[in-house]
Symmetry: C2
Subunit: 362 residues, 2 copies
């Protein structure tokens, strides 16, 4: 298993990335890692963690860095020698089986989409995140790769979400729900109403519409939505979790009783915080590209980096892209079958399969 790691991506790069990469190197003896970044700047950290001459570490130089605030297209134009672009190039050339980046999400989406291209039958890549429920987790897809979507894109997202749920939850037939504003089929906007019809025809475990509240009760394994709402939902959950911690500090520091109570239960607070933490998950795969790219959170700590690298190898080994390719071929066959008029009518696929410059979000 060969994995390229973007050493310059993330709020605390490269220090945190190299620390996480070192852990992965020791924890997963079957992985061969390629560290990609400015080698002059990396040598201090590689020596510090004693992996400069590690037999399973390859080093590839990248002169530039796509900053977190850069537009995604910078990776394709002004900074074609950036660490994330070089990673995507290695993936395209099959020099690695997967890549990991905790840097600019839009840049990772743009560079892999353009360099590595899509899987057969897939038009748009999707970011597949997971969020906690009261009974486990659910998968949110697309969590932010595409802002304006057609019904057929949401069908692809559902298929990719199901494939990832098979890996993450180890279930054979994950349940799928369409994120909507009401339970009934006729509820929603034009996009969800058309998508509902398509999803109903597929051989997946589609249970219908789900809503903003019941998804946290674990009513479904995979929640399908466009990337605009997915991004806002994901960031909204993060923002609300952070605000809740703030409110808790406020109310627990109001008097001595409460402060004593909080001290007695301080491990409970730590555990509570972990529910919202993405570190254990390591990152969100960008599925649909003809390769494997795991996108880490910009604020990833070493443990999150290590886990992201782990996941990258695991999903490749799981054969997730084969599952997606087979399922999407089957879906296209069902939905474009002669006589399946609503399928034909709703399948509206733009001629250019690559994401346009405004189709990504950070």
């Amino acid at each position: 298993m060969r994995i390229a790691v973007d050493a310059m991506g993330g709020d605390h790069a490269p220090a945190v990335v190299i620390e996480g990469l070192t852990a992965a190197l020791y924890d997963f003896p079957e992985y061969e890692l390629t560290v990609v970044g400015h080698l002059g700047k990396l040598s201090y950290y590689l020596e510090k963690y004693g992996i400069d001459d590690h037999p399973r570490l390859r080093k590839v130089h990248a002169e530039e860095v796509v900053e977190m605030g850069d537009f995604s297209t910078v990776a394709l134009r002004a900074k074609r020698n950036s660490s994330v672009t070089v990673c995507a190039g290695l993936l395209r050339d099959k020099a690695v089986d997967a890549m990991f980046s905790a840097g600019n999400t839009g840049a990772a989406v743009a560079s892999t989409t353009v360099f590595v291209r899509m899987l057969p039958g897939i038009d748009r890549p999707a970011i597949v995140a997971s969020l906690p429920t009261t009974s486990g987790r659910f998968i949110l897809v697309d969590a932010g790769a595409n802002t304006d979507c057609k019904p057929m894109h949401l069908v692809e997202f559902a298929i990719m979400g199901v494939a990832y749920a098979k890996y993450l939850f180890g279930v054979d037939e994950p349940t799928v729900g369409l994120l909507n504003v009401g339970g009934e089929e006729i509820k929603g906007n034009d996009l969800t109403k058309a998508t509902f019809k398509l999803l109903s025809k597929l051989p997946i475990n589609f249970i219908g519409n789900v809503e903003g509240d019941n998804i946290y009760e674990g009513v479904v394994d995979v929640v399908v939505c466009d990337g605009f709402i997915g991004n806002i939902m994901l960031k909204g959950a993060e923002g609300l979790a952070k605000a809740t911690m703030h409110w808790m500090k406020d109310v627990f520091s109001k008097n001595a009783f409460r402060m004593t109570g909080a001290m007695l239960a301080k491990n409970a607070f730590r555990e509570l915080k972990e529910f919202g933490d993405a570190d254990e998950m390591g990152g969100a795969p960008l599925l649909g590209v003809n390769g494997m790219c795991i996108i880490g959170h910009g604020s990833s700590n070493p443990r999150a980096i290590r886990n992201g690298i782990k996941v990258a190898g695991e999903v490749v080994q799981f054969g997730i892209n084969d599952i997606i390719t087979e399922s999407v071929a089957e879906a296209h066959q069902i939905l474009t079958k002669p006589g399946n008029i609503s399928g034909q009518k709703d399948v509206d696929i733009p001629p250019d399969a690559t994401a346009d410059k405004n189709g990504e979000v950070d």
Copy 2:
């Protein structure tokens, strides 16, 4: 101040509604209330709370009830004698200044939109909710009245949000943000990109795009979005707050130390819960209709009902509809000014000003 109260609307109607109405009757001596519902079923409660012969209470019979699970259009077709429809009729006939309903949201939107019609210059009504931040609250508009929106509808939502913020926060120039997936102007989907241009031209305190996370930090007073995403955001916040309480119970009951800690701090938990509670707010106004309708949460307790009735009177007294009418007239003038090409291009107003049957959500 004359306010109609839908006695049959809400999960615990009519008992809870009559209890809340009784509190409002005693707390606000300048209000004249009209209780609307099946008088045969209400008489027990009116006697129980001793308000059956109250001099400031009027009673109007409505034979039917729109149930929470009914489609919104039921209020206009099968159940034209329902309590919510009768309330809307009183509002249309100027027999009351405002109405309050904790029942089926879609039915309240549909009946007021069709019977009471829109304010001059307003095409779509909007539900104006408020959510807590680490430093106060923000207003979310549209929180669920419209699923498919045009840029000009979001302009109207911004204007209505500003008017409500002036009332709720008592500030002269509330800040406005457009809910989006990134901070830069070019980020977003087709709708937000076009809306950004329009909002930039208006004499409002538009600060640009805001995201799913930073809105909970109180970066802005008014968050503008379409009703599809607004509904999902609002329900998402509710769902996550409920899940957080569940997780807290889990982690605090793990051992004796934590349980003791939780007991010492039990008032802190109660206070924390109140952050997510909508009871103090009483409900969300449906703005844009030529009258005033406050929509309460289906699970409203008596305090929420009482506060909803209070708010209904206050916003009428505040003259919110005059503020909206003036602002929207000014906005239309600015955006359709000769030479203001982008304004003209983006203003795409459907000929029918009433919400279509799929334009509402529950």
